[in-house]
Amino acid sequence: MRAISILEYIDRSMWRLRWVISFIMSILITITVGIISTEREIANESNFMDSTTPYISYLIEAGDRPEVIRILSSHSRARGTKISIEIDGLEYANTHDISKIDNKTVERSGFKIGKNLLLKSSSITLRKEIKSISGSSSRGYIFSEISTTVIVEKIFLILAISFLSCFIILYFASRKLEFYLKETIRPLQELEKEVQNIHNDNFSSKELKFKELETVRQSVVETKKELNEKNTRIANQKSKEINSEIYRRLIHDLQNPITALKTMTNLVADPSTPKDIRDEAISVVPGITEEILNQIIAAKNNFEFDISKFQLIDIRSTIHTSIQQIKAAREGTTKLITFHSPDSPIFVPCDPLNIKRALINIIENGLESCREKIEIKIDQKMPTTSIFISDDGDGLEESKLAEILKGNGISKKGNRQALGLCSVNHILLTHNGSLGYRTSQFGGAEFELRIGSLC
């Protein structure tokens, strides 16, 4: 699962809020407005019936059905309703089907709300009693049927405006809410930057606005200080350990050449030594001396190692810088250096200058040995980080590698002694690591620069 930022999370969450919730809320509000508007329509119709029934009653008692029909038709046309009058179970007048007049009425079906409201999917029917002026015993009712289609047509504009305005308001409200949310977490971003910058040498920290975050920031700063102090203590201790190790190795490495030198010196000094053997011994002595000197120089360099120079760096940037430096120095080379750089940073505790020196050394060696290309990869398996540098050259004899790393081998390039690899090895030793070798997939050399943990 890819980690996402809180801002990204808010963006995604608010997208739903912006669209889905705005839409659902707008629908709900529109339905509410629709119900209110429908209720208003019913109330208007009811008011009309209340105000008209006395006159209708008067006309009915006067026996003037044509006038009743005219009034009802006029209102029906204006309001889009179907109006009918029932007296003693007979249809007295209506506005929509003259064939029903003077016929028996059929009971209206639907969902009754109270005595005077009847709901159907296609219509809403209101009923009002027509009270007789002269107090006759006839029972008369006026019915007004409002088609739901007519209601929707009438209130459509209101519904459309309600929906759009609600949607726009809710949408912008959610945008505003998102803005404030983002503003709220801005100190969190600042804290993130603070934490990110903790590795910088020139790390400086500013006070944060929110108490909780400020507490976190202070904890981080204090932790940083404590870490630095502990690192220094650990480094000093490690430095001593490494120096001891270097010394131990030096003694171990010098044991053979010094023994050889002693043997050769004895042969030269012994008058009984045959001349040819003495001459050979005399010729070997400078080589052995040179080897001893090299071992001492390398050890000296390593003794100069200072763990306080160690930093937690993104090793990718060190590799990139090294490659750029080599390319600049070898302008015009046609050989290809490919670095398979991972997407995320790979932090390694190391002395950047020495690691860079080691990288340049190995890459330059590779460039000289290769035919066409060099490939660089990184693999981090905590606590070790390995940098693999492969080429398509002739490679080394693996049996001679141990001698080479001691500074005793002869490099193929220019018939020089392989002092570079020896130094690289020493640098890696100071990083609690080592230099590995195998034949690359291209048939050439593949060096593995292992950098270990200091702890």
């Binding site: 008067y58 006067a62 026996g63 059905r65 038709s73 064939s99 003077d102």
Partner: protein, 485 residues
């Protein structure tokens, strides 16, 4: 190339322009055939007093306003109208570009001319228009009708089938309605109407044939697909013809009566009239011939002032029968006229009367009606406008159309008062008192209030029945499927 294309366009446009002058030879003639019980007795609105004439009048003439199917008043040739505060002046603004069937414009002068004719002495419908004091033409499209007294129901009279506009400039052959008369074939008893191209007609009918038949023939022709509607016929709801076609049923403003002429013995005797009325079994007659009709407890149809929905007013009932011969004339165009004859004769003669039922043609009946020579007659009293005034005025002494010959000053006074009464309930009470007088005088045997059962062919669409009468059905919206032609 561009020039050639433009030239081609021009040629095509010219051809299309001239082709519009050529008659539409391929346009299919859609003929609508309507069966009627009588050809119009007159084509002059001032002489129309029967439904057959009014039906044609409404097709070929237009007025200022007209009745919608639900009896509301709507515009015909008037764009708008309003009444003065005192209710004595009605002002009408006419629609623009209205024309007679010959293309001549219809102006306010034509209306003045037509309404003055309707109110003239030669008019048999003067009784409706004598409220008019004066007609003033303001401009070609504005007209003021001044009334002698405020009369709110006058707008109903103007929507009726006689308040039509005729051309003041010619012999009335050019008409103002949705249709004009193309052919009158007296031999085949057929009138062919064609749509007036100067009116905005939605119907696809090219010819509307009005064919006079009797009821039996009409039903037979309908079954054979030769007739498109039987609206003019008083069909019972259970008639077998309704197994085919479409049925429209509604209660129209009409009443079936047997009119009694008090001028002719033995009906000059009120007691005999009362006994005769009492002896006539109206309920059995209705149930036998028109079972779905509404029972009639009075003279006035439902929905109008004076209508009785329960029980007849109590009438003095001291029986007095006469051996004088009583002839009841009934229309011979009714399919069951002979059954009716036997029913009435048997029923009444058993009770001691000397009754003969005489089936007659519609022309004969109307002739006798107008001459007041019929002793008694069975008719459907249809209404020209939806107001009780239309029916009860028949009993006013001064009314030339008083078929009963009845004269009663008190009744006259009640009718006069009801006309000027603005309070509708008070007016209704006056009418009710007048109706009690009429019922007490036993001038009508109230048979039933008919339920109209209209048969129309399945090929017909857009035909809206009219609550007042079939006379007012608007055929300008009727469509006929061409496949049924």
């Amino acid at each position: 190339m561009r020039f050639s294309f433009t030239l081609l366009n021009f040629i095509v446009s010219v051809l299309l322009y001239f082709s519009s002058w050529i008659p539409e030879a391929n346009a299919k003639t859609v003929i609508y055939r309507k069966s009627i019980y009588s050809l119009p007795l007159s084509l002059d609105p001032i002489k129309m007093n029967d439904t057959s004439s009014l039906l044609v009048s409404n097709l070929i003439y237009s007025g200022l306003v007209k009745f919608a199917p639900d009896m509301t008043i709507e515009s015909d040739l008037a764009e708008s109208w309003h009444s003065s505060i005192d209710g004595k002046t009605l002002t009408f603004i006419l629609l623009k570009n209205i024309k007679f069937s010959d293309g001549k414009p219809i102006t306010a002068n034509d209306f003045k001319y037509s309404f003055e004719r309707l109110n003239s002495e030669e008019s048999i419908v003067k009784k409706y228009f004598d409220h008019i004091q004066e007609i003033e033409v303001i401009s070609d499209n504005e007209l003021k009708i001044k009334l002698k007294n405020p009369y709110p129901a006058f707008i109903n009279i103007l929507a009726g089938a006689t308040a039509k506009v005729l051309s003041s400039a010619n012999d009335h052959s050019a008409t103002s309605g949705n249709f004009y008369i193309s052919t009158i074939n007296k031999k085949d008893k057929t009138i062919i109407l064609k749509p007036n191209k100067f009116r905005n007609i939605k119907s696809n009918i090219s010819e509307l044939w009005l064919i006079e038949t009797d009821e039996q023939v009409a039903i037979k022709m309908a079954l054979e697909g030769k007739i498109d509607d039987l609206i003019n016929w008083p069909l019972a709801g259970n008639d077998l013809i309704f197994n085919t076609g479409k049925k429209i049923s509604l209660t129209v403003s009409a009443t079936w009566i047997i009119g009694i002429n008090s001028r002719i013995i033995p009906f000059d005797n009120e007691q005999i009239r009362k006994t005769f009325k009492k002896d006539f079994n109206t309920d059995k007659f209705r149930k036998t011939f028109y079972p779905d009709a509404h029972p009639s407890f009075g003279y006035i149809p439902p929905g109008l002032p004076g209508h009785q929905s329960k029980g007849e007013p109590k009438v003095q009932t001291e029986s007095k029968r006469s051996k004088e011969k009583i002839t009841i004339v009934i229309p011979n165009i009714l399919s069951r006229n002979m059954e009716m004859k036997h029913f009435i004769e048997q029923d009444l003669n058993q009770k001691g009367w000397n009754v003969e039922v005489a089936p007659r043609s519609w022309e004969e009946i109307m002739e006798g009606y107008n001459k007041k020579s019929l002793q008694s007659f069975l008719v459907s009293m249809n209404m020209d406008f939806p107001d009780t005034e239309f029916l009860i005025r028949n009993f006013e002494t001064t009314n030339a159309d008083n078929f009963s010959g009845y004269s009663n000053n008190e009744l006259d006074s009640l009718l006069h008062k009801s006309r000027g009464e603005n309070n509708k309930i008070s007016r209704k009470k006056l009418i009710e008192r007048a109706l009690i007088k009429i019922e007490e005088a036993a001038l009508t045997i109230n048979l039933f209030h008919p339920k109209a059962n209209y048969w129309i062919s399945k090929c017909i669409n857009g035909l809206d029945a009219n609550l007042l009468s079939d006379v007012y059905i608007d055929y300008s919206k009727v469509m006929k499927a061409e496949r049924c032609n």
